[in-house]
Structure formats: structure tokens, C-alpha cells
Symmetry: none
DNA sequence: TATGAATGAGGCTTCATTCAT
DNA sequence: TATGAATGAAGCCTCATTCAT
């Protein structure tokens, strides 16, 4: 099996890079590390990528996208039903974040935060992360707003602030999780007790 | 003044390293970068540090300690007064976190999260960060517990979970802040609305 | 037309290599450069050539030969007519040098002098260039000698020296031309004023 | 003698590079070649030069300058004496060209023409060579003009053309010399027979 | 005849570290 | 305490060449 299709090998490189960068950070992973780990020669890397930088961008797009851009469609229909349960929807969206990160959440988290720190010296990464965060924020904002309209979410705090709290607690648990992988990330749902006015759907009733 | 005190130069190196590592990460900063930035020759570095690794540990101890180990003493006295206002104390402690990070919070945040990602490949850093987080956690836990004892904090959620939420939201706003430096980190105090039972001291009354 | 005749593609490769080597020198041109420039894949190169070296030798033979080997035949007949005008013949021969270099003289010149410098590390090229120069020299020598016999060229300087001057000035103007492409290469004919004894055919009379 | 002065080593690098580039051309000489040839480690190169490119520029300035910029001063005084022998001066200047190239003329010539071909892809080198050629041209032009004023040089051909012939023949013999190192470069002086009106100083009288 | 994946040698450059001064 | 020359390992990338399709 010496000669395989390009796409196959390219995908293997991306996956290997993702795994390795979670441990050491992207800069500290060498092309040689990556290629050795998939049983290929160093030089073959450049058959598939123009540069190491380009690889980072592919890893980012394929493995580190939180995907709130695409998620919207299916959720929206639900959200605008007359009698919808906003809290349930929000819980589903929040759960998605961790599911989408794939099998190994710790790997994902380290890779993601490596990317975040990396963004400080790479304009392109910075913008991509910002766009990603904005999509997520906009998506949550829409849900919160709808919740407020339906009288399910408190209105004495403005929509964006509630949205921020919602995102913040999820991001915060990412970090806590990196400190202590034993922590229960489901604790984040408690933030909903603060946001939601006691309602008949609430699981805390 | 070609020859200065060792301590002076050492301090300059630490500060420069801290600034530079916020941008590029510790690995990507070279000894030469650091020494050039303080107007000294590369070779002089080893007069002050045994290795680059040792420098990282100093930067960590001197510039990146969240300092919940020391903070305790003065706070504790207050906390165990009969009629103490736990919410006020907690707010003060929370505020401290950002104050202690010094002039430029963004620099601090990037440096700190660079360190966190770095920890994945450095046992010593990992342990230090864990200890730090544990101290912070233990400190908060003590406050929360006291709050619960005094009937100021809800008791239907267990102490450690409330503590985690408390830490989580602060960490989460660090990250949000890195995405969007315009965000108002004081929003984190809203978490207290959820924790605290409405009480006569509350500013939301 | 994915599959073309071999000869066609081979010729395209040679032409592309010639163009590209004028700019960057043969070593600095990659097989990939060449094949990309003719819209073919890198691997196809080896269908037409055994190695890059072989390509150089083909380029040399087909595009960089000054061609004094072949030129002889037609000229010789003229030269040995009784009342021949040696100066006119010499002018024609000299003109030929630039005509034979094809459309773009500057490209030709750079390619040729790249080859010359390359010859220092390639025995085969060195010998080929020497043979070429020798043919040219021998050819000129024959003309000069005939001119002397007919009393048209001065005899106080020996035949080979006059020949050298004749070649030298042409080579020198190649170089001047590379410095300043605006120069008028026809100036080289002035050397004839020095060689030829004033004669009835001279255009300077 | 493990540690030497910077200037010493830098000079050795320049000299080694000059020798090596005469054989293989600048691109084909590796940093490793150069450093090994002076008994130093590859990495040490960068103590003295910022890049390989910078080395080329130094080699060029220090070893390949034809130096007609500086030469002027001493010659000029002679040139403007009332009864000066322009032909003698011109011969001296022409001789200088070969003397200045140092011990090994063949090495010098190959290095120089490597630089010339290299100039096609390096703007900076191109400009430097042009400036150099212009200085030489301007210098010769001045001499020729003076010769014409004094009635020693023919005036039926314009000054610049004569200058070009003068430079051209020298450059041409450089090339001839590279083909056949046995050639007598003094033959170039014959061009003066063409330029100069028969005069009492002429060695051909 | 054509392709493109794969290879391994080799080139430029960076960098932590050492050492004589 | 400070310097700057020197080192060698390691990293990114290029490239001539091979080979299965």
C-alpha cells in the first residue's frame, strides 16, 4: 500500500497534526513528527500542503470549528414554534459544543486553546477564531432574545450580557476541565437557573 | 553603567520574557529576543539563569501567580466575623484576580493561557498550575461554605459545584476577553445572583 | 489532446528550459518549473529525458550552438573566388552570430553565459564550449588568412591574433549588451577598420 | 585558537566564498561548503552574516569591484598635464583591470561572470554591476575625450563608441580567457592602433 | 505518453547553550 | 557581571528522481 490517494494521506496528516498539536502546540510539532506518525517520509508532506501554515489552517477548519455557523438551520425551526421550550433548546445547543469536539474532549480542548494563544501572532487565525466566536455569540443571542420575548428568560439583564454569561461559563468549564479532567461539565447548565424565570418545563421544579 | 546589579538585570529579563511570551508563547521567544529587548548580549543570559526552563519557572512564579495562597490571611479575619457580608467579600476576592494581573490584562491573559497550554508537555508547570488552581478553589470553597452556613448562599446545590461555577465564570471571561477585549469583565458578578439568596446587603434589592 | 507526440513535448521542454535558464541559471530551474510552464506534470519529464543533465545537453545543442561548424560550406565557395571581398564576407559571418541567436538576443546571451559559468563544474559542457569556440576560431582564422593572402588584411600582426581580436570584440559586446541592452552591437564592425588595409570595397571610404 | 575576532573569521568566509563561487556559482555553494573549508561549524556562519544573500553582497564589494570609482584621482592629474601621453595612460588603466583582480585571474573571471549571470534574478546585484560598468565607462570616456581634444585620438568616430570598443575588447578577452587560459590578454592593446592617430609615442612606430 | 504520490538527501536558518576574555 | 564567537542539533522546505497506475 505504498501509493494511496492524495485525499487519504492528506486527511491522515490533518488528524495526526491535530493529535500532536494538542500535546505540544502547533509550533512545537515538527513536520517530521507528523509524517513519521503516519508512516510517511518527511518530504512527502509537501505533496499535500504548500506549507506548515497551510496545514494549521486545514486542521483549524476541519477539526477545531465549533460549528455554530451550520448548526442554526435545524434549531431555528424549533425555536420559532409557538409553544417552544427555550431552555430545552439551549441545553441541546450547549451539549452540542462538547459532542462536536469529538471523541476526546481533552485533546480537543488543548488543541483549541493552543490555537487561541497562537492567534496572537497570526492575524488569519485571530480572525477565524473571532468569526467563530461571533457566530456562536450571535446564535446564542438569538435564542436568548426569543426566550425573553416568550417571557421565559429574565429581562432585567440585557440580552447580550446574558449571552456572554452563557458563553463564558462554557468556556470557563473548558479551562477547568483542562486543570481537572474529572470535573463534570454538565454543571454549566446551572447558569440556566439564573437566566430562566421559573417555568413549568424546568427540571429544577 | 555597563555592569548593574544582578537582581536588577534578572528582573528585567523576567519582565521582558513575560511581555514577549504573551505574544508568541514561551517556546517561540528566543533568548536573543529577550536579551536584545533589554539591551544586553545573548551570552549574558546565563549569568542570571541556568537555563531557559528556569526562566519560565521564574516568570511563572513572579508574574503569573494568581496569588490565592497569600490572599487568604487578611480576608479570613473578615470572613469569620459574626455579621459578615459574604457577597461583598466574594466580590472583593473576584476583583482581586484582575487587579493582581497588573497593568495590562490582555498581556497577562495571553501569557497565562500560553502557560496553560504549555503545561501539557511540562510536568512541573502542570503541577504548579494545578496547585494554583487548587488554592484558588479551596479559598473560594471556604467562602462559599461560610456563606451557606450563614444562610446567605443557596444550599440546594453542593458547595464544590457552586465554587466551580464561581471559578468557571471568571476563567470564561478571561477567554471571552481574549476574543473581544471590549467586553465588560464585571459581568461575572451576575453569577452571584444565582448563588446568593436575596439578602439585605444585595445591591440588586 | 492529453497525449501528444513525444517529439512535440520534448521540444517544448527544451524551449521552456532555455527561456527559464536564461533568467535563473540551469541549476536554479527545477523540473517542476519547466513542466508547469508547459502545462504538464512533473513526473512526465522522465518520459522524455533520462535526467536533468541530459536536458541541459539538449538545450545546449539545440539552442546555444553558435553554429560555425555548419556555416562553413556556403561561405567557403565565396571565399575562394578569385576576386572576393573578404571584408564583406567577414561582416556577413559576424552578423550571423546574432541572427542565429534567434528572436531574443538578451535571453540568448544570458543563457549562453550561464552555460559558460556552468562549464566550470561540468567537464562535458566545458569541452562542448571549447569545441564550439575552436570551430568559430578556426573558421575566422581561415577567413583572415585568405584576407592576408589577398592583401586585403594587414600582415604585420599574426593571423591568430587578428582572429582573437575579431572574436574578442564580438564576445565583449555580448557582455556590454547584458549590462546595457541599448547598446548598438553593430559597433563591432569598427574592428575591421583596424584589420583591413584600406580597400576599394570598404564602406568607410 | 578556537575563538578568533569576528573580523578575521568574516574575512575568511568572504575569501572562501569567493574561491568556491568561482567554481560552482554562488547558488551552488552551500554554507556548509564554505564553513567546512575554513574549519568552522555551519551554524557559526550566522554569527557573521545575516543571510547568504548578505554574504554575496560582501563578496561582491570586497572581491569583485573593478574599482574604477577610486582609480580616477591619481590618473586625472596626469591626464590634464599639457603634454600628456594619452595612449600610455590608457594602457596603464587597462593593465590595472587585470592587476586589480588579484593573484588568480581565472578565478576572478569565473566569479565575476557568475555574478553577472546571477544579476538577472537579483535586482541589487544588477544595479551594482551597472553602476560599476558605468563608472568604468565614464572613466574611459573621459580619457578618450581628452585624447580627442589633444588630437591624439581619431575624431571621425564618436567618443562613446570608441569607449565602448575599448571596454568591449577587454571584456571579450575575459571570456576568451575563460575558454582558453593560454591566450595573451595583452593583445587587447591592439585596439589602440585603431583609436590613436599615429603619434610619436606609439610603440608601433 | 502521462500522472501525481512518495522519497531522501541536502540546503538555509534558528536557537539554546558553552566558553574564553 | 558582561560579551560575542562558536557549536550542533533540529526545523522548514526544495528538488531530482522513482514508481504504480
Amino acid at each position: 500500500m505504498k501509493y494511496s490517494t492524495g485525499i487519504e494521506t492528506k486527511r491522515k496528516i490533518i488528524d495526526a497534526a491535530f493529535q500532536l498539536m494538542a500535546d505540544k502546540g502547533f509550533d512545537a510539532v515538527s513536520i517530521d513528527d507528523i509524517m513519521t506518525s503516519i508512516g510517511r517520509a518527511k518530504g512527502s508532506f509537501y505533496v499535500h500542503f504548500k506549507s506548515k501554515e497551510e496545514l494549521l489552517y486545514e486542521v483549524m477548519r476541519i477539526r477545531l470549528d465549533r460549528g455554530h455557523g451550520q448548526m442554526a438551520e435545524e434549531i431555528l425551526k424549533e425555536l420559532f414554534k409557538d409553544n417552544c421550550n427555550v431552555r430545552a433548546i439551549l441545553e441541546r445547543v450547549t451539549a452540542e459544543v462538547h459532542v462536536s469536539s469529538g471523541e476526546d474532549y481533552l485533546t480537543w480542548a488543548f488543541a483549541y486553546y493552543h490555537l487561541l494563544t497562537h492567534s496572537r501572532k497570526d492575524e488569519f487565525v485571530r480572525e477565524w477564531l473571532e468569526t467563530n466566536a461571533d457566530q456562536w455569540s450571535a446564535f446564542l443571542n438569538m435564542i436568548v432574545k426569543r426566550g425573553q420575548e416568550l417571557g421565559q428568560i429574565r429581562t432585567d439583564v440585557d440580552t447580550q450580557t446574558i449571552t456572554n454569561m452563557c458563553m463564558g461559563i462554557v468556556l470557563g468549564y473548558d479551562i477547568l476541565f483542562m486543570f481537572k479532567p474529572r470535573i463534570d461539565v454538565n454543571e454549566v447548565y446551572h447558569i440556566h437557573d439564573w437566566m430562566f424565570i421559573s417555568d413549568p418545563f424546568s427540571k429544577n421544579e
